[in-house]
Amino acid sequence: MALLAGDTGADRVVPPAGFTVRLTLFSAAAMALLVVFALALALASGRLAASWGEELARTSTIRISAPVDQMAGQTAAALRVLQTTPGVGRARALEPSEQRALLEPWFGPDLPLDTLPIPQLIEIIETGSGYDTQGLSLRLQAEVPGAVLDDHTRWRRPLVRAADALRWLGWGAILLIGGTMAAMITLAANAALAANAQVIAVLRLVGATDTYIARAFVRRFTLRAGLGAFVGMLLGLVLLILMPNPDAAGAVLTGLGFRGWHRALPFLVPPLAAAVAFAATRAAARRVLAGLT
């Protein structure tokens, strides 16, 4: 932390605010903004994968289409089968009122359900270990001819995989952005060192050690990168807050944003950016200085 407390003398020996320093400020801000978005994306898709994988996949439905007079008998038979199926935690036939509520969004409230041949739905809630989908299908085929097992996991699984992939894409993007920032700051530091060749020659002549000379540059780039990243992070957070509220837009997408302790994560971006700048500038300065007499 001597870096921050600072030898202001070391900072003053480098001419103030070069062009490269402003570029560093800008690229750090842009990168931090992108990192905040990538972070939000990664965390949101992580949440999506987790909620789809855990909650939704635990339920499935059986649909029974049968003539009206056989409906009750087949429903009872299906429930009997389910009671003896390992991995099924709970199974119950939906009440007509619940079925009506499910259909309401599509057909309106005035639908005369009683007069229509609506299939009976049975909701299955799995236990943690889950049941054997194929086995249950076969048993139902044999004992309840009108029953069709609707396994949600069949179509949900690729979605969970996609959400997972999206999450890793997000983390990968964060790594790439970090690497790009290190590269940019290295280039900027090299340019600054080259532009200040006379300053370095003078300092060498009057007996400054490499550490002292490097510190002047490292301090400047570290502080600028940290400051730029802080501005970029704030901007990113503001943009995220301004995004449409997921509840209003529909609950299917969990929405970009930070929940719970994840809210602390964006604030790690500026220190990390400063750390990247510190390492990049120091390596660049050491390399350049080692080549001088």
Binding site: G9, V13, P16, V202, L205, A208, T293
Partner: protein
């Protein structure tokens, strides 16, 4: 610490920490069969020299003879391609970069085209060696003022280096070279850019430093400067010719 005579007014230049060395005859800079070649040709060869503390040397020779290279060997900016250079008894080949940096705090260097930090005022440029070596600057402030008075730049303390004339720059470089109270001052054509009167003034400053015990080496091709110095100080004249270092005759 003794406070007497003219030295009293310039505490900056007062300390003579190498007095013991001088009595023992230890050398501040020592070259032993030194050779230096640039890429193809050999520029200097078979050079041996011992700079005793308190000595005053002129280094002369035609331009391109290697005077600047020779000086750069003397402050560790170049590593000899043959032979040995010792700074304060230490072989430069065995010194790491930090050791070279620290040795420069004991060797003041003045170049013909002296460079400064153009964004800092003269006073800060002169005290730069103190700043980079982490010496307390407050207690040195008085010394800085006296030093600037001594080189006649007191009124220009706030000026930026690009605003200074050639002579002022040379004197500023000299002040910067001596602010750490170094044991040796190496000057490369210090009078190259200034008129005769100014060169006499610089010479007087260097002679005065020599009287305080500093070892001085001035590279110059200006023979009249050497002649002018001879009446004030006992100087030895070295000449580089034919890649070798020779002691020039007393006929100058």
């Amino acid at each position: 610490m003794s406070r007497s005579g003219t030295i009293e007014t310039r505490p900056m230049l007062r300390h003579n920490k190498r007095v013991d060395d001088r009595e023992q005859g230890a050398c501040v800079i020592e070259l032993d069969n030194v050779a230096y070649s640039y890429g193809g040709g050999e520029l200097l060869t078979d050079i041996s020299l011992k700079l005793a503390p308190g000595s005053f040397h002129f280094l002369t020779g035609p331009s391109g003879a290697g005077k600047t290279t020779f000086l750069r060997l003397c402050y560790g900016a170049l590593i000899p391609t043959g032979g040995q250079v010792r700074l304060f008894g230490q072989d430069v080949r065995e010194m790491d970069r930090d050791a070279v940096a620290v040795s420069r705090r004991r060797i003041g260097v003045v170049h013909q085209d002296c460079q400064f930090l153009d964004h800092l005022p003269l006073s800060e440029n002169v005290s730069l060696p103190l700043i980079v070596s982490g010496r307390d600057r407050l207690e040195e402030q008085v010394n800085l003022k006296e030093l600037l008075t001594w080189v006649g730049l007191r009124d220009r303390a706030k000026a930026l280096p690009p605003e200074l004339s050639g002579g002022e720059r040379q004197r500023a470089a000299l002040a910067r070279a001596v602010i750490m109270s170094p044991d040796v001052i190496l000057a490369d054509e210090p009078t190259g850019n200034v008129d005769w009167e100014m060169s006499q003034r610089l010479l007087r400053l260097l002679v005065e430093l020599n009287r305080m015990g500093k070892t001085i080496m001035i590279a110059t091709h200006d023979l009249s400067l050497i002649r002018a110095a001879k009446s004030h100080v006992q100087a030895r004249v070295l000449r580089i010719s034919n890649r070798r270092l020779q002691l020039a005759g007393a006929d100058l």
